[in-house]
Amino acid sequence: MNNENGTLFAPSSGRTKEREKRRSPWWEVWRRLRRNKAAVAGMSVVILLVVVAVLAPVLAPYDPNQTNIKMRLQGPSSEHPLGTDNFGRDMLSRIIYGSRISLYVGFVAVGIGAVFGGILGAIGGYYGGRLDNFIMRCMDVLLAIPQIILAIAIVGALGTSLLNLMIAVGISQLPRYARVVRASALTVRGQEYVEAARAVGASDARIILENILPNCMAPIIVQSTLGVAQAILSAAALSFLGLGIQPPTAEWGSMLSSGRQFLRNAPYLTFFPGLAISVVVLALNIFGDGLRDSLDPKLRQ
């Protein structure tokens, strides 16, 4: 037998060797992403939105919840660029504050969906067999119920609140993360480097954590970006149906919903919140598309 403990490879003379700079695969992704003009534009809008959400108190010209009956239903003017609603609240301020809720809902709902869906998918994909089968059948059940109806039922059961809305949207998105992660876990599991890791004695937990999950990240990230967009849409749809956001919180979907009764006299009450949702979702989708292209190993060659 050879020398024990790998002493054959005695440490080479000191750390004199110069190494080339570390450039992680993410750097590569970023480089490709940067070249995609549309993706950069989408990302900029998303970043802008985050900035707006964070700086809402600074940016908003008025208190979003300050009612002023005398000033209600004023069309866009220099004083109120986007007009006022039926309580005389400034629409611009409400839309600015609304970005907070939309982003919050989007990210938390996706967080819920991605974490639980991802765990279920990774377990199913790595271990396979009956466990996988059971998990996937459960996902089938969730998929068989139209998303929005499932979400309505969940909100109905848990009660109307922002948190419950996020849970409902998260749960209804869960299957897609489970499926995406499972699919890539299945692919990764079959890769020789996973076999190699087992050959050098890595445990299941180590393989899942160090090999499977990092290599599933690309689809998870892409799916999550697009998922945030979808979650914002779903949450807005639920708010539109009158579920989820407590008044007087400024939220785009519920603003749109309550503006609807003034569709004839004050269409700007529905127009602007809808436009805001569209722009954000569009930006996220464009960014997600760009990210997908940058992460796609097929385009890497």
């Binding site: 059948r137 068989a144 139209p146 039922a153 109905g156 059961a157 749809a237 749109l256 979702v281 989708n285």
Partner: protein
């Protein structure tokens, strides 16, 4: 092959069972009580208790579920608490509107989405592609309820040429079809484009081109046949999605469909209607998936062979 489909049909059973358990638990978990809704705010405790008993709501939940399940197996989904009409009748009376909408939406989505995707892929990296792709992306991103309201504003209020509610004439269907189909249209266009681009790169397309056959033949025979498979998959998935989307469309355009029935029932805690309606939706989704599988067999001989081989 028939056996394969019968088997697939059997696989629907556990899914439907799962759906019934999930939805039964969710609706019964909700606070509130259909008896109270029916009797209104003036009801006395006694009246509520009496009605609850009449409705069988005083029994333990598992017993209620058992009763529901045994009856459901006999094709009896119970009677609506609100209207006392058989749930099956309620569903069947509203299903045609929903089905019409969903099918029209799908036809719209395919009729617009498919050519759009093909065009974009054929003109890859030109302004035509950019325009088509952007159009699809916008269709994918704008909230459909907003589209509905804006269409209504434009076509019923500003230029009043289309009715804003009801479903009596073909005119009634134009706006709802667009609202319902727009997202699917976008998805199909995107899927068609990416699938086209993938197929175009395939060796067999290069082989076909190396044979010197016409571009039209390459497109129709060698590309489209293979493009359609993922497109059919996504269309199938979105058909189910559209069934959910009808909730919004039906609300905006006051169309008496299944989506609104279920949502109203959820809100009124009309348990039998919720359960029956959701189960029916799940069944539709299952059947559509099955049809998609059948379509695969038509489109792809490999899959057909698999079905044949499956026991």
């Amino acid at each position: 092959m028939l056996r394969y489909f019968l088997k697939r049909l059997m696989f629907l059973i556990p899914v439907l069972l799962g759906v019934s358990v999930v939805i039964f638990s969710i609706v019964h978990l909700a606070p509130g009580d259909p008896a109270e809704v029916m009797l209104g705010p003036s009801a006395t405790q006694e009246e509520i208790t009496n009605l609850r008993e009449q409705l069988g709501l005083t029994k333990p939940l598992y017993v209620q579920y058992g009763i529901f399940l045994t009856n459901a197996l006999k094709g009896d989904l119970g009677r609506s608490i609100k209207s006392n009409a058989p749930v099956v009748d309620e569903i069947m009376e509203r299903f045609p509107a929903t089905l019409t909408l969903a099918v029209l939406g799908m036809i719209f989505a395919i009729a617009i989405g498919l050519p759009l995707g093909i065009l974009a892929a054929l003109k890859q990296n030109t302004w035509v592609d950019a325009l088509c792709s952007f159009f699809a992306l916008v269709g994918f991103s704008i909230p459909n309820f907003w589209v509905g309201l804006m269409l209504m504003l434009l076509l019923s209020i500003y230029i009043p040429i289309l009715p804003s509610s009801g479903f009596d004439s073909w005119k009634n269907f134009i706006m709802p079809t667009i609202v319902l189909g727009i997202q699917t249209m976008a998805v199909i266009a995107r899927m068609t484009r990416s699938s086209m681009l993938e197929v175009i790169r395939q060796d067999y397309v290069r082989t076909a081109r190396a044979k010197g056959i016409s571009d039209r033949l390459v497109l129709t025979r060698h590309i489209l046949g293979n493009v359609l498979i993922p497109v059919v998959t996504i269309a199938g998935i979105y058909f189910g999605h559209q069934l959910g989307g009808v909730v919004i469309t039906e609300t905006i355009f006051s169309i008496p469909g299944l989506g609104r029935l279920i949502v109203d029932a959820i809100r009124a805690q009309d348990y039998p209607v919720v359960q029956g309606g959701v189960l029916f939706f799940a069944l539709c989704v299952g059947i559509v998936n099955l049809l998609v599988d059948l379509l695969y067999a038509v489109l792809d001989p490999r899959i057909k062979a698999q079905y044949r081989a499956a026991k």
